[in-house]
């Protein structure tokens, strides 16, 4: 998929079905009851809708009750640790009345699963859940009809429990899913709004459920893309330049003569070696001398913010209200601050990997990708072969966080496999992972606020460079406000599409990083709210409550403050901080406690409380794990993570010089969710992380008086701020 299309899909939150003839495909499936439905026709944002019967082969998700009574749930989404392999099975089991253990999740296989644009944006639970529930409810109705016929009773007399259908007041008259489906093949398309359960009837939704894939993952059986081994497979190592974006000038492969069985692959700017032994491929790659022409360095990790501000001159207004002049005049205090956020790596523990083979003209691949269908399209375009000649298979991902949606490794592996005619495995080194990561972009936020003598916000001006609009809709009640996005003309305000003369303003690839842009802007807004509260002489919690208009946010904040104990006595050197944010439909409030060593500037996180209003919580246990994970990962960007570079030369190459959160820095974490079981579910994978930067920066200030306006909040920056 072209990067622009990825951006468009990411931010428009739309699942766009691709039209493929699925008649052949349905033939391939065995017997049982198959429910298909068209996601494109369902009105997703309203939750439910109608699909067009004529369009039934253009379906987008389905399930199959098999002849042995087990259920396959097919989804184009992938599992990368976010737990949907469990929560999607839960909602299916709930509506179909089967034990969760009898559901098999078939995920991300481009020939078995319906089209899906990608696993990103905390969309799965919001958009796939309702559809899978609908299909399961429909399948339940079909099964009841068939059972009524078989048992020769009225369907109203029947009920289902754990995959067994029986007469309500005579449990001896019964049949099973397996008995009913045996020898049948029924394809049913979802034609009307099915009758789904209310929260009072839930047995499985809302019940804490341990990950369905946990046993495979603790025994080493779970397979990732680099674990696939094919007959006669070769291992590829790509020869990389020192500087991102370099053009190949000359290749001297004379050094390869020393290696038996080595083969050089040259495809445009791609230079690689392959060998049946990965150790030899690695050694040999070092002997290939390539002259590169490197682009000129325009900025480094210190000068980048000035560079961005100086070069991005065009802006557009994202939101405005009232009159800024009046806001200025009616405010007794005006505060202006610039906030900065450096580049961040995704740094999944699994590096990008792909294993693939050609059979005649058909490519089959296992790939660590959040976008299996996008990968298929990219590969078909690159290799100039039809879409159906590419098959992406189901596989686990060792973390994604938005970094595995661009699939560079898939293209490289496919080109190499095509060139050498052998099965190929390509696993990026940690250094490659850092260099070709699509980093979270450096961002700059200029904020100006005004407050009156009663502590009421009267003015809010928010200028955002390179962080985009996500989560920036103002939820504070400020009569005079304006939010502007700074971009080149005709470029939308998304975080990773800032371009200068059609070339990225960034020295290397940038992209979506867990809640794109929202980490940067939430840090800036929440730091500035605290600074404004201080100027007004009001407690940060009280100041927020006085200036909030969003009721859900107020309730969520109060829940967090109560759980945390905002008014409890502080120990010496400790500080408390708050941050609020909105992401993927979820309201987040984080309260953090830190200890700061004033002599070294070192920060120790002590406790974090995260309250969320995420609508219906399908798996409270899974949601807690996701939230804890978001907070833990977020401490990394708040305190340590910063990509160092000079132009396209990335100096952060491994975990020695790019520190992520470790065991000793993980505080006690408590997660609380508002009880809204009858609401629609909202996002859970990303939202919590957005508030970590702001909450930590505010807690650090509270602990030692150091206001650091740039994340990560490092010891050096804290010491410098204390000296001021």
């Amino acid at each position: 998929m072209k990067p622009n299309k990825i951006d468009q899909l990411y931010f428009s939150d739309v699942n766009e079905p691709i039209r493929l003839d699925r008649r052949e495909f349905l033939k391939k499936l065995g017997g049982g009851i198959i429910v298909v439905f068209c996601l494109g026709k369902l009105s997703l944002l309203d939750g439910w809708g109608q699909n067009d019967a004529a369009d039934e082969l253009n379906f987008n998700a389905y399930l199959r009750v098999k002849e042995d009574g087990r259920v396959d749930c097919y989804t184009g989404k992938i599992e990368m640790g976010q737990g949907i392999i469990t929560s999607l099975a839960q909602v299916l089991a709930e509506e179909l009345e089967v034990p969760i253990s009898s559901v098999d999740m078939i995920m991300g296989d481009t020939e078995l699963c319906p089209y899906d644009a990608g696993t990103w944006g905390s969309l799965t639970t919001r958009f796939a859940d309702p559809v899978i529930r609908a299909a399961a409810a429909e399948a339940r109705e079909i099964l009841i009809d068939l059972a009524a016929e078989k048992l020769n009773v009225n369907k109203e007399e029947l009920t289902i429990e754990e995959g067994v259908i029986f007469v309500k007041n005579n449990t001896t008259i019964k049949t099973t899913f397996a008995e009913i489906t045996k020898g049948k093949k029924i394809v049913q398309s979802l034609s009307k709004k099915p009758s789904i359960k209310t929260s009072k009837e839930f047995k499985i939704i809302g019940k804490p459920t341990i990950s369905a894939d946990a046993v495979d993952k603790v025994t080493g059986k779970a397979m990732y893309s680099g674990d696939i081994k094919l007959p006669n497979m070769v291992y590829a190592t790509v020869v990389r330049p020192a500087v991102y974006g370099s053009k190949k000038l000359k290749v001297d492969a004379s050094g390869l003569a020393a290696f038996e069985g080595i083969q050089l692959i040259e495809e445009e700017d791609l230079v690689a070696v392959i060998h049946a032994d990965p150790e030899i491929a690695n050694k040999a790659a070092k002997k290939v001398k390539v002259s590169w022409e490197a682009p000129e360095a325009r900025a480094d990790n210190e000068s980048i913010f000035q560079y961005l501000e100086a070069h991005i001159k065009d802006s557009n207004v994202y939101e405005e209200a009232g009159n800024l002049e009046i806001g200025n005049k009616t405010s007794t205090k005006i505060i202006k601050t610039a906030y900065q956020d450096g580049y961040k790596a995704h740094a999944p523990i699994e590096t990008h990997a792909a294993t693939c083979y050609f059979e005649k003209d058909k490519l089959t691949m296992w790939v660590s990708s959040q976008t299996p269908f996008g990968t298929r399209e990219q590969l078909a375009n690159t290799l100039n072969i039809p879409l159906e000649n590419v098959h992406i298979k189901q596989i686990f991902l060792g973390g994604g966080f938005g970094g595995k949606i661009y699939n560079q490794q898939a293209i490289e592996a496919a080109k190499i496999a095509k060139s050498c005619g052998k099965p190929v495995q390509l696993v990026w080194s940690r250094k490659e992972e850092f260099m070709y990561d699509r980093f979270r972009p450096a961002a700059l936020m200029n904020v100006k606020s005004g407050v009156d003598d009663k502590g009421k916000l009267n003015l809010w001006e928010f200028d955002i460079y390179c962080a985009g609009t996500r989560g920036t809709k103002l939820f504070y009640d400020v009569p005079n406000n304006r939010t502007r996005m700074f971009n080149e003309k005709n470029v939308r305000g998304d975080s990773h599409t800032n371009r200068l003369n059609n070339v990225s303003v960034h020295p290397f690839g940038t992209g979506a990083w867990r809640a794109p842009g929202n980490n940067s802007t939430t840090f800036a807004r929440e730091s500035h709210i605290d600074t404004t509260a201080l100027a007004a002489g009001i407690d940060p919690l009280e100041f927020r409550l006085n200036n909030l208009k969003n009721v859900d946010m107020i309730v969520t904040l109060k829940l967090a403050a109560e759980t945390f104990g905002w008014t409890r006595k502080k120990e010496d050197g400790h500080g408390y901080g708050i941050a609020l944010g909105e992401d993927a439909g979820t309201c987040v409030a984080i309260l953090a406690e830190v200890f700061v060593d004033k002599s070294t500037g070192e920060v120790t996180p002590i406790k974090m409380v995260c309250a969320q209003d995420m609508g219906q919580v399908v798996n409270p246990h899974g949601a807690t794990v996701q939230t804890e994970g978001g907070l833990t990962m977020g401490l990394g960007y708040a305190l340590y993570e910063d990509v160092e570079f000079v132009g396209g030369k990335v100096k952060s190459k491994n975990f020695k010089n790019y520190t992520i959160t470790k065991f000793s820095k993980t505080p006690e974490i408590e997660c609380v969710f508002r009880d809204k079981m009858d609401s629609k579910p909202q996002g859970g994978g990303e939202p919590a992380i957005i508030c970590v930067g702001g909450a930590i920066a505010n807690a650090v200030f509270d602990a030692c008086g150091a206001r650091v306006n740039r994340i990560p909040v490092t010891p050096e920056r804290i010491l410098a701020a204390i000296k001021k």
């Binding site: 990368m80 640790g81 976010q82 737990g83 341990i210 990950s211 894939d213 946990a214 046993v215 495979d216 993952k217 603790v218 025994t219 080493g220 059986k221 779970a222 397979m223 990732y224 680099g226 674990d227 081994k229 291992y235 032994d277 990965p278 150790e279 740094a347 999944p348 523990i349 699994e350 590096t351 686990f396 991902l397 060792g398 973390g399 994604g400 966080f401 696993v427 080194s429 940690r430 246990h621 794990v625 996701q626 804890e628 994970g629 978001g630 907070l631 833990t632 990962m633 491994n654 975990f655 020695k656 992520i660 959160t661 470790k662 065991f663 000793s664 993980t666 006690e668 974490i669």
Partner: protein, 160 residues
């Protein structure tokens, strides 16, 4: 010049014909097809490739195969007996001390090495012993709890 290196892998005697300077991680994953042990960095920084060599938790990416002649190696595949999980594996499942699962084999093997040395570690001792194993999904607190839970079960078994 090829040489034969023999060692014990999960209670089985194995021999590999190697140059000798190959990393143990490659030998385990690629030559012996035990892919439960993961490659995360190849530099000893992340711990995804942790295994036991003579009961000592070790980064397999930092060991050359020549040095393991005659030694006893245990990988994640060697922990469970059939369907019965090792107490550490069981505790990881019970407390869901994992998300993407990629660091999990290394975490479990490092924890086993820790518990062999110190069967009753305090929370701080667990943190110190696990500190250099990285988890990007952020399951650290659950991993600590899981190791404590496993230690309890393992110690009870010893008493019986």
């Amino acid at each position: 010049m090829k040489q034969t290196i023999s060692f014990k892998l999960n209670d089985q005697n194995v021999s590999v014909d190697v140059n000798g300077d190959e990393s143990l991680l490659t030998v385990i994953r690629t030559y012996l097809d035990k892919t439960g042990t993961k490659f995360g960095c190849g530099l000893g920084d992340c711990g995804a490739c942790t295994i036991l060599i003579d009961n000592e938790a070790t980064r397999s990416c930092m060991v050359i195969v020549e040095d393991i002649e005659g030694k006893e190696i245990i990988t994640i595949e060697g922990l469970a007996s059939g369907e019965i999980l090792h107490p550490i594996q069981k505790a990881f499942v019970t407390l869901d001390a994992l998300q993407c699962g990629f660091c999990t084999p290394g975490m479990i093997m490092n924890a086993l090495g820790l518990l062999i040395k110190n069967p009753t570690p305090t929370r701080d001792e667990i943190i110190y012993g696990m500190e250099e194993n990285l988890c990007r999904c952020g399951s650290y607190n659950r991993i600590i709890d899981a190791i404590q839970l496993a230690a309890k079960e393992m110690n009870q078994k010893v008493k019986i």
